[in-house]
């Protein structure tokens, strides 16, 4: 049973040390081609964003029509956030819209709907060098996490006929929805790092938690990323509070 222990995957943006203890055997092999798409029940307070086929097209076309510059941060006219009182957090937010050197148009979308393909997530984890975890466990964790924030990159070829949607970042938080929350698995594709995307992920997640009156937000950071979180308002061992972990009695 010890070999199935899940690693404490902290917020590392760097490859972690994988010991043999964390070599996970995926006993439950999923049939190839089966994607576990987990649709989370949308929160009552969140603005409902209809995820229908063609949604990406509609948002992309409405933005692209007005966009002439190569690099614009266009606050989409369709998205808004009310500032007073209980503000609904939009499920999806266009973070960036830019043209790449080869002429393709790229959009980066932040989403709180938690629609994550576990295979795409595993590919992302492989890219940053995290140890593999059983897909079924990952799927269950995502389904039962209070908030799952994702970053998708949508690239459109210059001809406008091909569209590719790729998962480039994720962060999730477990919570009792009243007092405590813990942020786990903050991950950004290495080729998209250094652009403020990780910061946006964590800030949005923190904001979403604080707006729900959840005050104890904690996380366990790898030594290399402690400064990253310090810049985001996190304090190490505040007032002597430390996290302790259960050690398997073997």
């Amino acid at each position: 049973m010890c070999s199935l222990a899940a690693p404490r995957v902290c917020f590392r943006c760097h490859p972690c040390l994988s010991s043999s203890r964390f070599e996970v055997r995926n006993n439950k092999l999923l049939p190839p081609g089966v994607y576990l798409r987990l649709k989370r029940k949308p929160e009552k307070r969140l603005e409902r964003w209809f995820l229908k086929a063609g949604f990406w097209d509609s948002i992309a076309s409405s933005i692209l029509k007005n966009n002439n510059a190569t690099e614009t941060m266009v606050p989409p006219s369709t998205l808004h956030e009310e500032e007073e009182g209980e503000e609904p957090i939009p499920d999806q937010l266009l973070l960036a819209d830019r043209s790449l050197s080869d002429g393709t148009q790229e959009q980066i979308i932040f989403s709180l709907t938690g629609d994550v393909d576990v295979h795409a997530l595993q590919d992302l984890c492989d890219k940053v060098g995290w140890p593999r975890r059983p897909l079924s466990k990952v799927a269950v964790s995502l389904k039962n996490s209070f908030l799952v924030a994702t970053l998708y990159s949508i690239t459109k070829s210059p001809e406008g006929d091909e569209e590719r949607k790729q998962l480039i970042g994720m962060a999730r938080a477990t919570s009792d929805q009243a007092f405590n929350a813990t942020i786990w698995d903050v991950i950004v594709d290495p080729s998209y790092q250094g652009q403020g995307l990780g910061k946006a992920l964590v800030q949005k997640l923190t904001r979403a938690l604080l707006q729900r009156d959840i005050g104890n937000i904690s996380l366990f950071a790898d030594s290399k990323v402690v400064d990253f979180y310090k810049n985001l308002g996190f304090e190490a061992d505040p007032e002597g509070i430390k996290g302790m972990f259960w050690h398997l009695p073997f």
Binding site: T174, D176, R207, L210, L219, D222
Partner: protein
């Protein structure tokens, strides 16, 4: 000699000790420990009793609790407690019959009714613990408390063991617990230690500074902490990737 030992055994079988877990008696005390029952049944937990238990232990669900002028921690909000209990994966409660507790009003023999002898009306919550989990990979333990008069008997350890048993039976081995300096020894005795991977525990404590331009920033309170809510970022400054 044989007669003495037989008497001892028969006395033990007569005492009202419930078949569920019983704490080890203190070695020096002559009194029998009160009969306790440990339960993981969520419906046996009354949020009001939990609130009273926390208040009597000076425990707050906020990590940085606000203390009143008398030095006592402010009581936990009942509605939030209900929500927290509803969304906790494991809830463990330790109950004890009221008549065994100090400070409980003594009932005369004639006042005992049917309910007192056979019902659960006088069950008091003396210990509590809960765990929040994503039911797959990780879990965190919170709010483990035992009333002061029943401490140092292993009850807290039993609560933790019960939580661990349930979590490990579901295949969850990454179990964390945030603890203050005082609680560290307790968790160590329960088999917890610092992270073998050397991760640092961090908590969000960003408060509005005196020099910060607070326009457009919102602040929320958590216990005695004033926490700055990160502003909405419609726009992200992303530079062109070469």
């Amino acid at each position: 000699m044989a007669i003495h030992s037989t008497l001892a055994i028969s006395y033990a079988s007569l005492s009202p000790i419930e078949p569920q877990s019983k704490p080890k008696p203190k070695p020096k005390t002559k009194l029998n420990p009160p009969p306790l029952s440990i339960s993981t049944n969520r419906s046996s937990v009354d949020p009001v009793q939990v609130q009273h238990l926390f208040a009597s232990c000076g425990h707050s669900c906020h990590r940085f609790p606000r203390t009143g002028p008398d030095g006592r921690v402010e009581p936990v909000e009942l509605e939030k407690l209900r929500v927290a209990l509803a969304h906790s994966f494991v809830v463990v409660s330790v109950l004890c019959k009221a008549r065994f507790l100090e400070g409980e009003k003594e009932k005369g023999v004639l006042e005992y009714g049917f309910e007192d002898l056979f019902g659960d009306s006088d069950q008091r919550l003396v210990g509590f613990g809960r765990a929040v989990s994503d039911c797959g990979l990780t879990a965190s333990i919170h709010d483990v408390v035992v009333i002061p008069s029943l401490r140092r008997r292993g009850i807290g350890q039993k609560i933790i063991n019960r939580i661990l048993r349930i979590l490990t039976s579901r295949g969850i081995y990454d179990i964390s617990a945030l603890c203050t300096e005082n609680e560290r020894l307790f968790f160590k005795a329960c088999g917890f230690g610092f992270d073998s991977l050397g991760s640092t525990t961090m908590m969000y404590t960003q408060s509005p500074g005196a020099t910060t331009d607070n326009d457009g920033f919102t602040v929320t309170t958590s216990g005695r902490m004033q926490l700055l809510v990160p502003p909405p970022t419609h726009q992200l400054k992303l530079w062109k990737k070469d």
